[in-house]
Amino acid sequence: MKKPIIIILAMVLLLFAGCSNSGNSGSEKHIDTTKDELILAVGNEPETGFDPALGWGQYGSPLFQSTLLKRDHDLNVTYDAATGYEVSDNGKVWTVKLRDDVVFSDGKPLRAEDVQFTYETALTSDSVLDLNILDKVVVKDPVTVEFHLYEANSTFLHSLLTLGIIPKHSYGDQYAENPIGSGPYKLVQWDKGQQIIIESNPNYYGKRPFFKRITFLFLNEDAAFAAAKAGQVDMAYIPASFSKNEVPGMVLESIQSVDNRGIMFPYVSSGEKTDDGQEIGNDVTADIAIRKAINVAIDRDALVDGILEGYGTPGYSAADGLPWFNEETKFEDGDVNAGKEILAKADWKDKNGDGVLEKDGLKAAFTLLYPASDVTRQSLAIAVADMVKPLGITINVEGKSWDEIENLMHSNAVMMGWGSHDPIEIYNLFSSKMAGMDYYNSGFYSNPKVDEYLEKALLSKNEQEAIGYWKKAQWDGATGFSLKGDAPWAWLVNIDHLYLVNENLNIGEQRIQPHGHGWPITDNLVDWKWDEK
């Protein structure tokens, strides 16, 4: 009887020895070579591939291509493949000087023809980037290129910041799968639906990235969290609800964003219809007192703590923290009594004692739509509805699909989300010209003075001048689209983007991220370092 036991014991011991052996060899590998490879799970696969003309790089760095200009971590404009740019006095001609030492990963130099080709391709392709303002691109000499616009437009800067330059000589149908560019990295392998592997580009003119080889796994948030727990990735993007779970060896990085959520109110009274027969306007939310009272009564800090687990900031506008945000428009919130006062002054009274205010036979009740699949928006909608109940305003929350919301969004309040590094978004949300266009200005907000400032901001010759007008459009001392003015929205929160990051991985200083959780973190990939602790 003894022998089998000994054999089993021996086997068990062997098993343990095997385990510890493999464990040792793993850690030895870490010590021997400095780590220059990373595995990241930070986003979904880009649907259209890696072609900048089709939208690649609009969120986050294009990685494989270089842009003409870029923003540093304070969101100031600096140069990438350009050495300088000028705007003509009428604002219609932008002249950009290129570096002469930029080389594509196939060894050919980047010339003005490539820039011309890139913008002309992006103009005709069905890209997310709107280049309709662009008339033509003129090559002056190999390193000088001129952009001729139909009219002055300060937000054209955004195209120079985000559009990666593609090589004229090797662009074709296969480009999206096989991108050649002058960026810090080149694509080595793409397993569709699973991962991409990139390696540093030896021909890159800028700072040599620390990590030579990076693998991006395309996992959803749940799977990314599981992979992080299993120690398979160096970085994973996770939702706030997972933030409480500690993962050994990883730290939680919370990055501020303008990824905002807010309630869009229909601004006009009901009656009109769009050309497609969708109703426009809502009599209750058309009353400025209702909108202002709701804005004042909501306790945004409670929303951040309660729904975002503290990973967020109170939201006051569509562009909190960005250079064109008007600090004057911040206000004190969470004050139900102030909200009641506003309503009382506007003659909203509870005559029949049912807890809901009335005015001229109209009940202070409206529907707030949210996309049924989005838990954060659902929670925000329910919490806000409960917060405004003491005011005597009833908000009926209703979850719908985006298709249904599209049909109802002109006559019902909607829980929306925006946030972009491009100030054109301000124009899109608040210009009366954009009323009813896609999801922009779906409440049909219009204010002639605001329109005037927005047009002036577009026509500005440089960003500084434009920023002045963007700020005035929010509040100029008398009117504007912020709460002090017309309050067409009730902004609620900005959601921090959460990433689990290996404790040894230094991801440098992160800037405020736009709408979209994941890819924007790759913006400063070249600055990432491995600090063995």
Binding site: L303, G306, I307, A372, A383, G399
Partner: protein
């Protein structure tokens, strides 16, 4: 110990289950929606004396949400089961009395519906109707009638051939007299039992389809929604979100099942004297 006979036992069981179900229904209806307001300060609390079922991620009391959800489910189940039984009874009688063509069509329909899984059919119908309360109720009503239709068709056919009915007919009694005096008394038990046995089915399917996201809007306090929400938080250790509502669903469904069973042995002429 007092020994009770089967009839007494039946009465006791049916009383208890009816009381439980009615209590849940009434409490759920009486509690106003104001009781499930969000309370962000007391979110994610485990069960305690002030919150016996704990609270969810918005600080809403889970006991009240569960009761609300159960009474909503009972309501949905009642409407759906009642309409299903109506459809079943009318189709069953039509099949048995209106000749071979009608019988053929209805039997074919029954076979068709039985050959497609309930849940798939339900998802299709409620999706076509745009989801929501309406979609779920109509979907449930349109999918739960086939098996009962078969039973009723067979019952009526059997009655038509029974000797006393034949005799009655020869004696010159009208169709109406036969229908009311002879056929109906036999159908009432089928009707009632069918109603009660369809009920748990309907509730479970309502919960299932809502759980899958095809049914009610995700903020309504339906039991399927509560259960599917809880899935997200199970990995973070909030077991109470799933356990208590799940147990309640089990309790209610079992209660209905029991009630249906005892009712059957109570009113079914073949089994009443067992």
């Amino acid at each position: 110990m007092i020994s009770i006979n089967k009839r007494q036992k039946t009465v006791v069981i049916s009383t208890i289950t009816t009381v439980i179900l009615l209590a849940i229904l009434v409490i759920g209806l009486l509690i106003s929606n104001d009781r499930i307001v969000t309370n962000l300060d007391s979110r994610n609390l485990p069960p305690s004396l002030s919150h016996p079922f704990g609270t969810d991620w918005l600080g809403r009391d889970m006991l009240i949400r569960t009761l609300k959800g159960m009474s909503m489910s009972i309501g949905v189940g009642l409407i759906a089961a009642a309409s299903s039984v109506m459809i079943a009874v009318s189709l069953g009688i039509m099949a048995a009395t209106l000749g071979r063509v009608v019988d053929g069509i209805i039997s074919w329909l029954v076979d068709l519906f039985l050959s497609v899984p309930h849940l798939v059919m339900l998802i299709l119908i409620s999706f076509v109707l745009g989801g929501g309360m309406k979609g779920v109720v109509i979907g449930l009503a349109l999918t739960h009638w086939p098996s009962l239709t078969r039973v009723i068709r067979a019952e009526v056919m059997q009655l038509q051939c029974a000797e006393y009915v034949q005799t009655s007919r020869r004696l010159g009694k009208s169709q109406w007299f036969i229908a009311v005096k002879h056929t109906l008394p036999h159908l009432v038990p089928q009707f009632l039992v069918g109603l009660f046995l369809l009920f748990p089915h309907a509730i479970l399917h309502e919960a299932a389809i809502t759980f899958l996201g095809m049914g009610l809007s995700p903020h309504q306090p339906a039991i399927g929604i509560i259960l599917s929400e809880s899935m997200r938080y199970l990995s973070t250790g909030m077991w109470w979100l799933a356990l208590f509502p799940g147990l309640c669903l089990l309790l209610v469904v079992r209660a209905f099942d029991l009630l249906g069973e005892v009712l059957r042995s109570f009113v079914d002429p073949y089994r009443a004297n067992e």
